[in-house]
């Protein structure tokens, strides 16, 4: 029950007019970001981060996390009305959502999407409320070797469990880790990999990289594909909402299953996208009427949306409790925490109670307010998509430049953003995943520090990573995950041989 009273305390922190206003602003900006092609959760949060530099950390994180919720909701609008997934995790929503819109049931599909998103996040937030403090207090016992092992686990699970070609994931990750090391070495104070170029002394800011990789490159890709935006109009009436809500309890198994999948995959790094597909596929597999999926079945909207939001939300759990983000956007929020001088990880729960519980409370409130907001304002946001892309594209470019410049007041960063834009465009086209790169760039220094501190403590003995049961099992698990494709292939071969 301690969590409950802390949560009430969090609501107390939150309930001021200023915070509530920021929440609304964040949600509206977030939906915009989610709806516009070329922007998206990670990029939107990165661009808008500078706006919060002058705020106190609690208001800032409330606004940023609301941008995140908004972007999650917004992604569904484009998927259903325009058949364009605003985010990778809304791809599965288009399978049944768009057919529903074509049949003139757009309002139903949207209500289903928003409501199931809400349920998914709610389950995940409940999980965070009751699990995060426990995990954090457990992690307080972690020393550098344990932390390094957890970082290793994060990196290895990306490689082992990702859908992309393994060597491409490794390329993306090592590149991110290397670029994270550019600039001043945090342990010795020595300069590394700067080649006497003073602009590089600051290091490569990961927000600048994110804005380029996700924002500029997305604009280039969108132009290349020449998106003709032709969508369905929709306004949601109360009658439709009530109708969908009345139908909803029939699908409780799907909702519950998708929530569970989402929570699990959200905590595992790199799982947010997989969650929506898995939610969809499992709903299809367990259905009596498999044929009707893909032709506008409402369950086909419930399943992926619940899973996507559950995973998007629960990705914040490892970020808060361990300082390890479970998704790209969580990684950017983590970067935000560091900008405000907060050190994400277990100590956050002890030293900055205000902040943590304010944030968790804002997840509840943000989702409720967000649900009401999207249900009532869909026509407005759908209209945004009818604005010609020729007007939106340059505006996004300008917003990206503002975001990149504001982080360190450096013109160099605008050029860096452009460079990363081109890199992102090429990488996306040849299938080098960008999420591991982002994660590595954020975690690089922390992982290296943890490694070096454990090495110093153990006088260079690598066996320190197996020195006790806890760190040993995490390290072993990491290696198992890294070699998972090899292990599972070998297992298959053994089994076929046996039979």
């Amino acid at each position: 029950m301690e969590a409950f009273s802390l949560l009430l305390y969090g609501f107390g922190v939150l309930l001021t007019w200023k915070t509530l206003a920021l929440m609304m602003v964040g949600l509206i900006l977030g939906i915009f970001v989610g709806v516009l092609p070329g922007l998206g959760g990670p990029n939107g949060v990165a661009i808008l981060l500078p706006l919060t530099f002058t705020m106190d950390p609690t208001s800032a994180i409330v606004m940023l996390s609301c941008i995140y919720w908004g972007a999650l909701f917004g992604g569904a609008i484009t998927s259903i009305l325009f058949n364009i997934p605003g985010e990778a995790w809304s791809v599965a929503t288009t399978f049944d959502g768009y057919p529903m819109a074509q049949q003139g049931r757009a309002a139903e599909a949207l209500t289903a999407a928003f409501t199931s998103s809400f349920i998914g996040s709610l389950v995940a937030v409940l999980l965070i409320t009751f699990l995060a403090p426990g995990i954090a207090s457990f992690a307080l016992r972690f020393g550098p070797p344990e932390f390094f092992a957890v970082y290793l686990l994060t990196f290895c699970s990306f490689v082992g469990l990702g859908r992309e070609e393994k060597h491409k994931t490794i390329i993306s990750m090592t590149l991110g880790l290397l670029l994270a090391g550019v600039g001043m070495d945090t342990v010795s104070g020595q300069l590394r990999m700067v080649f006497g170029w003073s602009e590089l002394y600051r290091g490569i800011n990961f927000l600048v990289a994110v804005i380029g990789l996700f924002g500029i490159s997305e604009i280039l890709l969108t132009m290349e594909e020449r998106l003709a935006l032709r969508g369905h109009a929709a306004a949601i009436s109360l009658r439709v909402v009530l109708k969908v809500w009345k139908e909803m309890p029939r699908y409780w198994v799907t909702l519950l299953r998708s929530s569970a999948i989402g929570c699990w995959l959200g905590i595992t790094p790199g799982g947010a996208i997989a969650a929506s597909f898995m939610g969809y596929n499992l709903a299809k597999r367990f259905s009596d009427d498999k044929e009707s999926f893909g032709k506008g079945r409402i369950e086909g909207v419930f399943a992926p949306e619940t899973a996507a939001h559950a995973s998007g939300t629960s990705a914040l759990l490892p970020m808060l409790a361990l300082g390890i983000p479970g998704s790209g956007t969580a990684a950017i929020l983590l970067g935000g925490l560091m900008v405000w001088g907060l050190n994400p990880g277990p100590l956050l729960f002890v030293e900055h109670k205000n902040f943590v519980w304010g944030l968790i409370a804002s997840m509840y409130l943000g989702n409720v307010v967000g649900l009401v907001l999207v249900l009532t304002t869909v026509p407005v946001f759908a209209a945004v998509l009818r604005v010609p892309f020729a007007a939106i594209a340059p505006m996004i470019v300008v917003s990206c430049a503002i975001g990149a410049y504001a982080i360190q007041n450096a013109m160099f960063d605008i050029w860096l953003m452009l460079l990363f834009g081109v890199v992102g465009y090429v990488f996306k086209k040849i299938g080098i995943p960008l999420a591991p790169f982002t994660l590595a760039l954020v975690l690089g220094n922390r992982a290296e520090d943890a490694f070096r501190l454990s090495m110093i403590g153990a006088a260079g003995d690598l066996r320190v990573f197996w020195s006790n049961g806890l760190v040993g099992s995490i390290t072993t698990l990491a290696l198992v995950l890294l070699f998972w494709p090899v292990i599972s292939a070998a297992w298959e071969r053994l089994r076929t041989k046996a039979t």
């Binding site: 090391g181 132009m223 290349e224 010609p388 892309f389 340059p394 505006m395 503002i402 013109m411």
Partner: protein, 158 residues
């Protein structure tokens, strides 16, 4: 026509060169152990090795799988469209250095809408102007976020 495979190989080679460069620089910084533990170059040096290894693997894989045809990376028509947005963005970055961000963004938006989007001139100009002023008010005045500024802002005393 450039294929996806050709681009893949070029990127692998470029990354390999980068890995070599960074690896060398870290080796120069020091990759061994001293009294305080690993030297600053230790961790990144081995990362550069892994990067190089992954690139080599990719190169071998792409060059040995010669037989099946690869997808086209980009068609001429698509490339033209990509340049249509890339070149203005490049110009915008250059202009930001001399004219400041707000004037450059006005020029980018108005120009892009009119030329690439073929939207009426007056609409493009008004949109560009409104957006630039809106950004100025939001960042410079409301949120105190300072952007690069040029001669035009100076005229208005900013």
């Amino acid at each position: 026509m450039t294929s996806n495979r050709a681009v893949d190989i070029v990127v692998s080679l470029a990354l390999l060169a980068l890995a070599a460069l960074l690896g060398f620089d870290n080796w120069r910084t020091g990759i061994s152990w001293d009294a305080t533990g690993p030297q600053p170059g230790y961790f990144p040096f081995y990362l550069a090795l892994i990067l190089a290894g992954a690139c080599l693997y990719g190169l071998v894989k792409e060059t040995s799988a010669r037989k099946e045809p690869s997808e086209t990376f980009v068609t001429r028509e698509q490339f033209t469209r990509v340049l249509q947005v890339f070149v203005p963005t490049l110009a915008f970055c250059l202009l930001t250095q001399w004219l400041g961000l707000y004037v450059a963004s006005f020029l980018l938006i108005a120009g892009f809408m009119a030329w690439v989007g073929r939207i009426a001139w007056w609409k493009s100009l008004v949109t560009g102007l409104v957006f630039a002023i809106l950004m100025f008010v939001t960042f410079e005045i409301a949120f105190d976020v300072i952007m690069p500024k040029g001669p035009v802002e100076a005229l208005f005393g900013h």
